[in-house]
Symmetry: C2
Subunit: 431 residues, 2 copies
């Protein structure tokens, strides 16, 4: 396909998605759940048929010299397939929020006014290597009564096509329109440019992938984008923090896993507890090989003779850019602050408004932190690693948003819906 | 000011608004209500001082040859001032939604997760002639804990400056930052271009005015816009409609006022009742001078000898563009449809997704209309004229949105807020 043909092809997908979305919006819960269960069954039954397609992707990726972790992400192992199949079944078991009416109240005129939750229409999902995202996005579309256009990574195209065939068959089996979930079948980059610029067909774009991809999409999209660019998350250890709790939570927030967006990248410690607390956490970080980028006060404490309980740690003088950085690695910035005021000010200035936590026993400081820290998730005495749709009880996670408009924080099915007003009258007129 | 200076000036307003928004966000309800009541008092006390500024605007507008209705809109009559003062007092009497925590539930890990309603930050309001919007926007900013930058029409600049002085004095009296509400003090058009392109300072733009203004702002804005472009609203008279109710509601929806966006512009009538109903409503329209643009079936009925009960009506053959048009005048399009299916299809194709109503006694058709019509407000047996923040019980109306993202339909204070997650733990960590 040339660029013009790609553009026309993606517009056709848009037109078809729009038509399918009207049918999906009125589908009942039983029909949508039937499709989800059929998809789970087909995934398990088709493991042998998925294998050759997946093998071709892996072969191509290996030949192209992709790194081992990149190739690993492509693999549709039995475990990966079982996980996505289970995910479909879990979605099927969840209550259907579509059609739900809330807040119905009688007004002085006599009319009753409430709000009905309805699908948003059509969403576009743009993602990189992992082919399992194809099933996650498809199942979310089905459950939420939306249509979806999926654009996976070019390295997973064969696997994605095989998976999309299973989705189509499952939709057909339940009597739902097969165009409700369409995979962009070309790897041409122009397809992404067109997908994000069709407000007449696509209501929202959800990108998943590296910061570069997400920045590009946010800049060029002509429709709303649900996204977060980075997760520069903080833990603040307050004056009254129980230090054993602080040690456990800070350790978990930083070291349980380095790559997630909800891992802590910055540690703030109240001056009154810094002399006591920093050597303890410093020893843990040193033992785990976590590099500490410190302000002068923290560096002085951590560089003191014997401070790290005999461990050898890497203490580096922080520079201004350290306060804004998302390391996604065994590195943390550390700063000693006067107290809760300076902590809140530092976080509101440098954090990426993703997730920030306070460790404290002080009720007033906890309340102030919750109210004044301008982040999507604010926590008291819990690890930032909990900022996740499943841990928050949403039953599914479409993504995490650091925007304030529409969805904020971990986004579940409701992020793919909107509320319309319903008015019930008995012939009332306006006077 | 030259263009560069204007741009720098508006950026300074943005920086100041951002700083003020942090203080507004943590202001308590009593303080915000104190500012609102002070503003009401100052408005009533300052009628004599507002008059000269307003007189200068009116003089300039008259000299510039503005039409009489345009000049009328500029006038700060005692009645207008009393209305906005009362509006401030009504907002003060409303409960404060900021800080409200909802849905707090314990999760399997032990953490409790809920959502806190917080201000969205800074909004920009762009409006045309009426100076009273300055007070409406200022009072909404104060109540919702946001900061606002206001850009009124150039023809009302003197009045707006005088009103903005009252707002500043009221904020100061309550101990709130005066930069929480700032009026753009220049009438240079470049100011609008800068105001809508500062995502680092402004979180959402609310334009009020003609379609041209709103289209331009939506196209060029780099931040979300809460808006509706037009209100092509419909009433569908179903097979089982009580015809006396239909007559009353259709008449009200069309003729109670021609200019509002929630007035009906299209009438759909089920074929089974068209012969009975159309002559009745046709006679009403004819008597009131409402031009009827009809499809062939409706035209045939309305042009029949004696159909209009002796009234002389204007029956015009509709062309394709009539189905999409927002007349805002004594004109209505009329079409005979097979039944609820064709009515829903017609509305979803041609309406502006603002407000559409069905008149029916049939429960199943009513439910289908509510679920399947893809509009911001859907109504059964009520006049479309009710689509309004006050009639819906929101206590205030910032605007009406025909978008599905964030706010949809009449937007109250909640449209200027977002929900952040709050997590309460006792030292829980992720395993």
């Amino acid at each position: 396909m040339n660029a013009l043909n790609v553009s026309e092809y993606v517009q056709t997908l848009g037109l078809q998605a729009k038509a399918a979305s009207a049918l999906m919006a009125k589908a009942d819960a039983a029909t949508k759940n039937k499709a989800l269960k059929a998809l789970a069954r087909r995934l398990r039954d088709s493991a042998a048929e998925l294998a050759p397609a997946n093998a071709r992707d892996i072969e191509r990726a290996t030949a192209a010299g992709l790194s081992a972790p990149m190739v690993d992400r492509l693999k549709l192992t039995p475990k990966v397939i079982e996980t996505v199949a289970l995910g479909c079944e879990q979605l099927a078991a969840m209550p259907d929020v579509i059609g739900e009416i809330s807040g119905m109240k009688q007004q002085p005129s006599g009319i009753r006014v409430g709000q009905m939750r309805v699908p948003i229409g059509v969403f576009g999902m743009i993602y990189e290597s992992r082919p399992n995202v194809t099933i996650e996005a498809a199942s979310l579309a089905i459950k939420s009564g939306n249509a979806a256009i999926l654009r996976g990574g070019s390295e997973a195209i064969e696997s994605n096509k095989a998976l999309a065939d299973l989705v189509s068959a499952s939709l057909a089996e339940a009597g739902l329109p097969v165009d409700a979930v369409q995979l962009v079948q070309t790897t041409d980059r122009e397809a992404v440019g067109q997908l994000i610029a069709m407000p007449q067909f696509v209501d929202v774009i959800i990108p998943r992938g590296g910061k570069g991809l997400i920045e590009r999409i946010s800049r060029d999209a002509k429709v709303p984008v649900i996204k977060h660019l980075d997760g520069n998350c903080h833990v603040y250890v307050d004056d009254s923090a129980p230090l054993d709790m602080a040690l456990k939570v800070v350790d978990n927030a930083k070291t349980q896993k380095y790559s997630p967006c909800n891992a802590a990248e910055g540690l703030l410690v109240a001056a009154s507890v810094a002399e006591l607390f920093l050597p303890e956490i410093g020893a843990v970080f040193a033992a785990k090989g976590v590099e500490m980028r410190c302000d002068p006060a923290a560096a002085r404490i951590l560089r003191a003779e014997g401070a790290l309980h005999g461990e050898t740690g890497t203490i580096v003088d922080a520079v201004e850019s350290d306060w804004s950085e998302e390391y996604l690695a065994a590195v943390i910035s550390i700063k000693v602050v006067d107290g809760v005021d300076e902590a809140i000010a530092h976080i509101n200035r440098y954090s990426s408004h993703h997730t920030d936590a306070i460790i404290t026993r002080d009720h007033i400081n906890a309340q102030r932190f919750l109210r004044e820290v301008d982040s999507a998730s604010v926590m008291v005495n819990a690890s930032t690693r909990f900022a996740d749709g499943f841990e928050f009880g949403l039953g599914a996670e479409i993504g995490i948003s650091t925007d304030k408009f529409h969805a904020r924080g971990p986004v579940g099915i409701e992020g793919l819906t909107s509320l319309k007003y319903v008015v019930l009258g008995q012939g009332e007129i306006r006077t």
